[in-house]
Amino acid sequence: MSAANQLSDEKLIQFFYANWKLSQQDFCKSYGEDPQALARFLNRQPDQSSERVRTSLKKYWEKYQMSFTDHLDEDESGGGGSGSGSGGVDQQQQQQQYTAPSTPGGGKRSLRNLLQNYYGPGIGDGSDGNGGSGVLSNDPLDIDSPSFDLKAYFENTIKKSTLQQLVAKDNDMVSEIRTLDGDMKTLVYDNYTKFINATDIIKKMKNNVENMEEGMQLLSKNMELITTCSDKINSTLSVRREKIDQLSGLHKLLQKLQYLTALPSRLNHCVEMQAYSQAVKYYNSNNGILKQYSHIPSFQNIQTECDNIINQMKLKLHEKITNIETQQTEVAEAAEMLLELLDPIDTVRSAYLQGRKQHTFALLKHIEKKEFTDVVECIKELNKIFLSEFSYNHESYTSLFVNRFDGVHSSKKEMMVSKQHLEEFSKDLFNRYLAVAKLKLAIFKSPDEKIKGLEVLCIDVAKIQKQLADISSVDDIINSTVYDQIAYYFDNLQKTIKEHISTMNATLINKSSAILEGNSLAELSEKTAKEIVSDILQLFKNLRPFFLPTETSFLTRHFSTIFTKIQVNLQNFFLFLNIHFLDYLDIIIKTSNKEQYGSRFLLALASVCLYLESKGINQVVQSMNEFINTVKQGMHSSAAAHHDIFSINTPDLAKRLKEAAQRILTVYTKMQSKSIEKILRVGLDSTPNWLALKEPRDVRQVNDILLDELQKIGAEIGKLLPVTNQQLTTPTMSRVGGGHSRSMSGSGNSNVSVNNNNSDAMRRNQSNANLPSNSNNLFDKRFDIYAPVDFYVNSILVGIVKLSLKSYIECLRTKTFGTNGYHQIQVDLRFLKLYFTDMFGTQQSIDSLIQEADNTVADRCSSVDPIPLEDSIMKMLCENKLKSRKEEERNKSTMINMISVDN
């Protein structure tokens, strides 16, 4: 107790915190303290007021201690002397002293223990399952344990403790009992006040509820009253309301009916006002109703009337769509309306496309007719009109017929069809457009202008490429246009060359023999050749702009393909050039009308070939090389590397042209030989009987005719080709050599053919052996007669003479001659030989042919051993004739000279 009196401030504060469960204000109220002073005290800030607080706290302490002691007293009185022990109590006391003030938890536990004791075990247990109670529970010597064994405890205490200890224990116990008793009392007091308070509140509530019941009763009464009132009103008004409902329904219906009946006139009005879309709206909104009530005649009437109007409108709309005059926006609207009117999509679509196509075509036609001076302007206008038209059509079509369809299967199909139609439509239009563009481009001959036009075209078309993506790319357009252009150039070239040649032929026919005057024949052929060359040069000039990179950037990526195209065309062209000349040979063979292509034509043609070969081809190749250089510059080096730039070498081309000329001249030779041949043949046939003839007095006149003709031919050729070939020293020698080598093998043939068993062959061989020169002549002739001619007059004339003589021999073989006839032919032949030698120099082939003719006549002479005409007579006759003829020719030429001088 002394310890309690000497309580330090610190202890008091701790105690306060531990035991005072209420707020500080409450404490102040209960003990009449200043709260601030208390707070200061509790915050260990003592001042003059702290003494009072301290005393108050001490009072609380004492009060607390008192109530605790009371408890113990009561407990002890109940428990008798059993609680007396010395050592254990002492321990407990110490523990108590230690725990209670130091840890509030300890105090709390002790309080709980008290409550436990009071209410019996089970309360608060487990909720605060501290280790302490668990330890205590099993110790029978622990006074707080439930299994506390009083007897054992007592005995234990008695046994172990001294007397003094026992007395101390007893004291301890007494004080403990008191404390406990006090605690108990406080608890009971607390509970009691709480209970009292609760009772008070319940009492108060009871009073309030009783008051409310009355109010409720009043309320329910009022409610009942209201219900009855409203019921009453309802029942009284219900009859009328039905009527009103009916009436208002009727009114609505009537309104609708009125609307419907007015519909036709309204539609008419709309149609009149051309407010078609309004009409469509009216119709579509009412069509359902009309259909629903179509069994009622009046409705049906309205419907048919409406339908008629709408049908008329549809017709008008269709008309509008198909009418090419209609504006594009209106057409789109009309199509939209028709679709809303559920017109079959097929008809609308086709009508739409048809109309638009016509419209565009009309536009294009308009452009087509219009004349432009500037290509760019032309193409720009064309593009402006066409492309805007096209893209609008494309868009509106897409919105009308493509986007309308959602993902449903059937409509998907329809969409595909629509797209397909669009493609066709676009294709058609574009083809037409390109055709017009091409036409327009074709007007402008200059390639520069064309390129410009193309560029504009390409750029503009590229803008709407998106819409064309699935049809044809712009590349195709460019390529095809360029290709067409290139092909056009080449075709045109071929055409103009053909034209030049046919003009040449026409001139030849028109002028007939007048062409032989002066140099006009040579001039004509040279003119033709030069025209051909200049045309070819023009071709390269035309092609070059495609590869000038500055002007044609849009073409750059197509360079390689374009160039390939050009290459192919060039090759074809050179092939054509070569073949074309030869074609005329076939044409001449096939044309029955000989007048159409005269021999002069062939001559001129050969001359054209020769000109091209000697002069033209160089120019062409030079120009081509320049062109290829341009191409190389134009193309990127990498692109160029991919291309084998083809080369057409000059010698090869020249050789081919020369061959063509050669063949033409060969045909010419054959052709002319026929006319000479005819003279000879007629000369033979004009004498009906060669058996009965007078001595030859002179060379027959037919030979003059022949030589005249030959000279005419010579003059004709002389207009175009040199008379002799100075450069070629021995042109005939080489041919004779060729013939000779052939004759060697030929004689080999005849050797092998000898059949020793066959007497006839023997005989024949012998006869051949007698005439070795004859045999050789035969072979010379065989391979010489048909040898190709050279490009000069005499060579051609020799060729003609040879062929004619060959035929002459054939004719002689079919005749039978008398001695005089034989002599006559001999004289003729000798004269010809003389003349030819004079004309061409010694020509072995001609001589041998004349010799063979002579032999043939001898063979065909009916007398058994024909004696040739005496050489002197023959010589005399022939030389006289030759002389007179030469004189005649001289006269003729002087005459001609005189005439030309006169002129």
Binding site: S750, V752, A761
Partner: protein, 418 residues
């Protein structure tokens, strides 16, 4: 060299020593196959010697042996053409020149005495007589002769010739050919033109391609069935009907061209070839394989042509043209039609075997081209004829050389019926 040649040739597989060249010392321009003798390749060669004794030589080409002489018959006057009678192997016609005029006689060979017996002479010709034409159906019902202007149809029964009809009135008649496929059709060439005739006699007949305007004489039964004016640019020297196709006719002449005509469409030639440097004197279809044609020319060569596209082999493949009964066929007798059908069947069967045997060479088989130029002759080759064996042909040049050649083995193989 020739021996080597013959060794290369397919049919004449010879061990050596065979001769395919035969020489006569006299000038000659007439050769004819004895067609009536189907078992051997016998030819008649007539010489054309103005001053020597002329002769007709009967020669025979035998496998492995070459050409051998059978007998020599002396013949008065130079022979311009020779035609073996289709109905008698021992008889033949010659056209010969007496010096003042041309004559034509029919001769019979007496093999024992090696003399010729003159059976009869066809008299009354003016100017040069062209080779006599015998009935291709191998009867002695008639022969046809052409001189410079007139066509004569002869009856030669009992060796007494009589002119049944004479017509023509043309200028410069040069050649004629009897159509073996259309009864009584004759084609003639005069100068540059070709005309078709119906030389029918006796019974009335449905006229072929009425061309009354062109009928120059008064005898109504003779009609030109077709005409080709200006068929060539120069004189036509030979014409020949395709032995197996009724409307195909070839022509050749001084322009050196070989042309094929469809007698129904005469505006343009069906085919045209040029391969000779000088006049073509003679041109002949092969009797069985009518795609083979030989031509001989005064450029000393003989050309062998393969003209498949208008041959009966081609026709069989595309059976169309002749199966249509065009009006010109109506005149045919049943017999002839049967004959034709047989021929078609024959060539068809041969054709189908071609396919099986020469499948790989189809292209070659179908080409139209010059197969080969034969250059064994050293003088103008005036006459040429096919042998009895399918693939040999004989050519005769003016210097008296007879050469027998074979169709090159590759072509012969193509056409051979296995």
């Amino acid at each position: 060299m020739f021996n080597n040649n013959s060794n290369n040739v397919g049919i004449n597989v010879q061990s050596g020593g065979a001769i395919n060249v035969y020489g006569i010392s006299l000038k000659s321009r007439a050769i004819s196959l004895i067609g009536a003798d189907q078992d051997s390749n016998r030819f008649l060669v007539g010489t054309q010697a103005l001053k020597e004794e002329n002769e007709v030589r009967l020669i025979e080409e035998k496998e492995n042996e070459g050409i051998g002489l059978v007998s020599i018959f002396s013949h008065p006057k130079e022979i311009w053409s020779i035609t073996s009678c289709t109905y008698d192997a021992d008889s033949f016609f010659t056209v010969y020149n007496t010096g003042t005029e041309y004559r034509s006689s029919c001769w019979k060979m007496n093999h024992e005495s090696t003399t010729l017996e003159e059976l009869f002479e066809l008299k009354g010709h003016q100017g040069m007589i062209k080779p006599i034409l015998c009935d291709p159906s191998e009867t002695d019902d008639y022969v046809i002769s052409l001189d410079d202007s007139t066509i004569r149809l002869w009856s030669i029964k009992n060796n007494t010739p009589s002119v049944v009809k004479s017509f023509g009135g043309l200028n410069k008649l040069t050649a004629g050919s009897i159509n073996p496929n259309i009864n009584n059709q004759l084609a003639t060439a005069n100068d540059v033109n070709i005309k078709g005739w119906d030389f029918r006699s006796g019974k009335d007949h449905i006229e072929i391609n009425n061309n009354d305007n062109n009928n120059n004489n008064n005898k109504k039964t003779y009609r030109e069935s077709f005409k080709i004016d200006k068929a060539h640019s120069e004189l036509i020297r030979d014409i020949d009907f395709n032995p197996n196709k009724p409307y195909i006719l070839l022509s050749a002449g001084d322009d050196g061209k070989l042309k094929f005509w469809d007698t129904r469409y005469t505006e343009e030639p069906v085919k045209m070839f040029s391969g000779h440097n000088h006049w073509i004197w003679n041109a002949k279809f092969n009797k069985y394989h009518d795609q083979l044609v030989i031509t001989s020319s005064s450029d000393n060569t003989v050309n062998l042509w393969h003209v498949y596209s208008i041959s009966s082999a081609m026709q069989d493949q595309n059976k169309d043209i002749t199966s249509n009964s065009s009006p010109s066929i109506e005149g045919q007798t049943n017999e002839q039609q049967q004959q034709q059908q047989q021929q078609q069947q024959q060539s068809h069967s041969s054709h189908s075997s071609h396919i099986s045997s020469t499948g790989g060479k189809t292209n070659k088989r179908k080409e139209d081209k010059l197969i080969k130029t034969f250059e064994e002759h050293e003088d103008s080759v005036y006459n040429v004829c096919w042998g009895t064996s399918n693939f040999i042909f004989a050519s005769l040049s003016y210097d008296g050389r007879v050469v027998i050649n074979n169709v090159p083995k590759e072509y012969a193989d193509l056409l051979t019926i296995e």
